[in-house]
C-alpha cells in the first residue's frame, strides 16, 4: 500500500515538473533548458510575496503565475525567437538563460536553507495505516486537475486547437492562418506557468535552493525522453513509470539507487526506442 500511495505522489510530482518542458517542446519544438531556472525563480518570487511583503498566499500564487508566464513569453519574444529553428543555438541560448538566472540568484545572495514556503494544508492522515500529509494529497489533486485542464484546453478552445495544430504540422497551421510565433509565445508562457505551478506545489515540502533548478531540469528531460519528446500525455505516463520505478527501487534495492532510475530510463529509452513511448520523431525521420 505504501508503494501505491507514495508511488502516486512521486509520479505526480515528476509529471508536474515535466509538463511545462513537454508542452513547450511539443508546440514550438524548442527544448527549454531554462525550465529548471524558471521553476526556482518562481519559488523565490512567491517567497518574496509571502515572506518578505506579507501578501496573501493565494494572491501570491496568482501573481507569481502571471509574472512567470510573462517572463517566459519575454524570453521567447526577445531571445529564443532569434534562434528558432537552429536546434543547437536553441539549446545553448535557453541553457545560457537558465544559467544566468540560477547563478544570478546565487550572486544576489539567494543561498542557504532558510527560504521556504508554507504548506497549503497542515496535518496528516493515515491511509491504510500509512501516514500521508495533506499537502502531498493536494499535490496529487491539483496534478490531476492540471492534466484534465490541459486536455480540455487543447481539445476544446480555439487557442488550444491552434497550439495542437502547430504541434502537428507548423507549415499546415501557417496556411490555415495560425500565427506560429504568437502560438510559440503562448506555449512558452504556458510552459513557464506550469514550471511555476510545479514550484509552488512542490517547494513547500522542502526549501527553495538554487541547486533544485538543475535537478528539476534533469528529471524533466528524463520524463520527456521516456514519454516521447513533444507528447505531454506521454510525459504524464512516463512520470508514472519513472515515479513508481523509483519507489520500487527505494523499497527493494535501496534509496541510494533512486536517482539512477531516471538516468537509466534515459539511456534505455534512447537505445530501445529513441522516439520515446509517444514521440513522433522516429516516424517522421522514417517518412523523410
Amino acid at each position: 500500500m505504501d508503494i501505491l500511495i507514495y508511488g502516486t505522489i512521486n509520479s505526480m510530482a515528476l509529471a508536474l515538473m515535466a509538463l511545462g518542458f513537454a508542452l513547450v517542446y511539443g508546440i514550438s519544438r524548442i527544448p527549454n533548458f531554462a525550465h529548471g531556472a524558471l521553476y526556482v525563480i518562481s519559488g523565490f518570487v512567491t517567497w518574496g510575496f509571502v515572506r518578505a511583503l506579507g501578501v496573501n498566499y493565494l494572491l501570491s500564487v496568482f501573481l507569481t503565475m502571471i509574472i512567470i508566464g510573462v517572463v517566459g513569453a519575454l524570453i521567447y519574444r526577445f531571445i529564443l525567437i532569434r534562434v528558432r529553428g537552429m536546434a543547437i543555438s536553441e539549446i545553448i541560448a535557453s541553457y545560457a538563460i537558465g544559467l544566468a538566472i540560477l547563478e544570478g540568484l546565487r550572486w544576489g545572495g539567494f543561498k542557504g536553507m532558510t527560504y521556504t514556503l508554507p504548506v497549503f494544508v497542515e496535518g496528516s492522515v493515515d491511509i491504510a495505516e500509512i501516514p500521508v500529509d495533506f499537502h502531498r494529497l493536494v499535490v496529487v489533486g491539483i496534478g490531476v486537475a492540471v492534466v484534465a485542464f490541459l486536455w480540455l484546453f487543447t481539445h476544446h478552445t480555439r487557442i488550444g486547437l491552434a497550439l495542437r495544430g502547430m504541434a502537428q504540422d507548423e507549415r499546415a497551421a501557417l496556411m490555415l492562418g495560425i500565427d506560429s510565433d504568437l502560438m510559440a509565445v503562448v506555449a512558452m508562457a504556458l510552459g513557464s506557468m506550469l514550471a511555476g505551478l510545479a514550484a509552488i506545489l512542490l517547494l513547500p515540502l522542502g526549501n527553495i535552493v538554487v541547486e533544485a533548478g538543475y535537478n528539476v531540469l534533469i528529471l524533466a528531460i528524463a520524463v520527456c525522453i521516456v514519454g516521447g519528446l513533444g507528447s505531454w500525455m506521454g510525459a504524464v505516463l512516463a512520470a508514472f513509470l519513472i515515479g513508481f520505478a523509483q519507489i520500487l527501487t527505494v523499497t527493494y534495492l535501496g534509496s541510494h539507487y533512486q536517482m539512477v532510475v531516471a538516468l537509466l530510463a534515459i539511456i534505455f529509452t534512447l537505445i530501445l526506442r529513441p522516439s520515446g513511448l509517444f514521440g513522433q520523431q522516429k516516424e517522421l525521420e522514417e517518412r523523410v
Binding site: Y6, I9, R106, M113, S124, P131, H135, L205
Partner: protein, 429 residues
C-alpha cells in the same frame, strides 16, 4: 651690505628649517604592509559563508586594536576570499586547487585560512601548501581523520597544515556515541535507524556509528539508508523506520534537502528522535522559522562550542553577541567559532615568533595554548590537530544542541549543557 647678506642667510636658514619641520610634522605615518590571509571557501554554503563572516569579524577586531605586532612593527591583517564552490555537487576538486594557487600566487597570501571545505579538496590541497611552504589553518568543513593522519605520517612535508576544528573520529567516539548512550539510558530506547547522504564522510561516519552502537547492545535496523545528494523524498525510509519501530533516527547529511526530511518526519509523526550527527539544514538559527517549528526536538551536532549560544568559556557569549551585532544573526553553525578563533591564534603565534617565516610560525603554532571561544586551544605537535575534550578547561569542546521552543539549547557535553534532551510528545508512552 655685509649686514644685509647676513640677514638673508638667516632668513633662508629659518625658512628651510620651518619647511623641514612642517614636512615631518604633516607627512602621513608610514603604513606597514598588511599580512594577507587567503581564504578558499565555498561561499554559497553555510560552512563557507559563516567562516568568511567569522574571519572578517575577528580580523576587524584585531585591526581595530592595532593589528599584529611583528617584531615591534604593527601590521594589519588583510582578508582575501575566493569561492572554491567545492561543496557544490559536480564541482571537481581541481577547482578548489586552482583557487588555493590563485590566492598564493596572485593575491600573495602569507597564510591560508578556512578551507578548502570539502575533505577531498582539502586533502588534495595539502601538497600545494607544502610546495609553496604556506602555513594553513583549516577552520571548517573538513572532518576526515586522514588530514591530520597525513601530517603525522609525513611531518616534514605537511607540517604547514593545521586544523583548528573537530574531526570525525573524535566526533563519533567522543561526542555522538556518548550522547546516544545517554539518550538510551535516560529514555530506555535502543533501536536506531540510520539515514545518510551518499558522500564519503557520511558513509564512513554512519557505518562507524552503526558498528559501535551494535557493540553497545543497541538494535541497528538494517543497513544505513543512503540517499543521493539532492534527494527530495524520504517518505519510504521514514515509513520503514516507523514499521521497524525505530526510536532514534540518526541523520548524517550536509545537503539542504534535510529540511524536507524533518518536515516529513513531523508531518508523519514518526515516533523516533531525529539525531543529526551532521545536519546542515537544522544548524542555522533561521531553521525554526523556515520549518515553522516542524524541526522541534531535532538534535544537531555543530562540531564546536560557540556555534550555538552557551557558556563554554567567558569568551563564548562575548563572541555570540559580537557576531550577532556585526551580522545580525547568531553564529550560524559548524565552522563559525573556529573560523573566528583562527585569526586570533595566528596573531598570537606570529607575535610570539616575531616573524612571518613559515618555520617560525609553525613552531609558535605548535606551542599555542590559549582559552578561546570553544575551550582551551592547543595543537597536537605531531599531527597539528586541535586537541579535543568534553571539558573546555582541557581542550576544544564540541556542541550538540536540540531545537526546543524556537531555541537551540545545548545538551551535550554535560559541562556546557544549557538544558536537557526532550522527546517529542508523540513519542511519549
Amino acid at each position: 651690505m655685509k649686514k644685509k647678506s647676513m640677514w638673508g642667510i638667516i632668513i633662508v636658514v629659518i625658512v628651510v628649517i620651518a619647511a623641514v619641520v612642517i614636512y615631518y610634522a604633516t607627512r602621513p605615518p608610514k603604513i606597514e604592509p598588511g599580512i594577507v590571509i587567503g581564504c578558499p571557501l565555498s561561499t554559497a554554503f553555510l560552512y563557507g559563508w559563516d567562516a568568511e563572516r567569522a574571519i572578517t569579524l575577528a580580523v576587524e577586531e584585531i585591526n581595530a586594536a592595532g593589528g599584529v605586532n611583528v617584531a615591534g612593527k604593527k601590521r594589519p591583517f588583510k582578508v582575501e576570499v575566493i569561492d572554491t564552490r567545492d561543496l557544490e555537487p559536480g564541482v571537481p576538486v581541481s577547482e578548489a586547487l586552482l583557487v588555493v594557487e590563485k590566492l598564493i600566487l596572485e593575491k600573495k597570501a602569507d597564510f591560508i585560512m578556512g578551507g578548502p571545505v570539502r575533505s577531498e579538496a582539502a586533502l588534495a590541497a595539502m601538497d600545494l601548501l607544502s610546495k609553496y611552504k604556506k602555513v594553513s589553518i583549516l577552520t571548517t568543513g573538513v572532518l576526515t581523520p586522514k588530514y591530520h593522519a597525513r601530517v603525522a605520517k609525513e611531518y616534514d612535508k605537511f607540517k604547514y597544515c593545521f586544523r583548528i576544528t573537530g574531526e570525525a573520529k573524535w566526533m563519533v567516539g567522543g561526542e555522538i556515541i556518548p550522547c546516544l548512550v545517554d539518550i538510551g539510558e535516560r529514555f530506555g530506547v535502543d533501536r536506531i535507524f540510520i539515514m545518510i547522504q551518499d558522500v564519503a564522510h557520511a558513509r564512513g561516519g554512519g557505518g562507524l556509528i552503526a558498528k559501535i552502537m551494535a557493540k553497545k547492545g543497541w538494535h541497528v535496523i538494517g543497513k544505513p539508508e543512503i540517499y543521493p545528494t539532492g534527494t527530495t523524498d524520504f517518505s519510504m525510509g521514514l515509513i520503514k523506520a516507523k514499521k521497524e519501530k525505530a526510536q532514534v533516527i540518526l541523520i548524517w547529511m550536509d545537503m539542504p534537502e534535510t529540511s524536507i526530511l524533518l518536515k516529513q518526519w513531523y508531518d508523519m509523526k514518526i515516533p523516533a528522535l531525529p539525531f543529526g550527527s551532521i545536519i546542515a539544514a537544522a544548524e542555522q538559527p533561521g531553521f525554526w522559522k523556515a520549518t515553522e517549528g516542524k524541526g522541534e526536538y531535532c538534535l544537531a551536532n555543530v562540531v564546536n562550542a560557540g556555534n550555538a549560544p552557551s557558556e563554554a568559556t567567558p569568551w563564548t557569549m562575548k563572541f555570540v553577541k559580537a557576531y550577532k551585532k556585526r551580522w545580525n544573526i547568531e553564529p550560524e553553525g559548524y565552522g563559525t567559532s573556529t573560523s573566528y578563533m583562527a585569526p586570533y591564534v595566528l596573531k598570537d603565534a606570529i607575535e610570539r615568533a616575531g616573524s612571518l617565516k613559515p618555520d617560525a610560525v609553525i613552531e609558535a603554532l605548535e606551542k599555542t595554548d590559549m582559552v578561546g571561544v570553544y575551550g582551551r586551544i592547543r595543537f597536537d605537535p605531531k599531527s597539528h590537530q586541535v586537541v579535543p575534550s568534553v571539558d573546555p578547561e582541557e581542550g576544544a569542546v564540541g556542541t550538540i544542541f536540540q531545537w526546543q521552543a524556537g531555541k537551540r539549547v545545548v545538551v551535550f557535553p554535560k559541562k556546557i549543557a544549557m538544558g536537557e534532551i526532550q522527546l517529542p510528545p508523540w513519542m511519549k508512552k
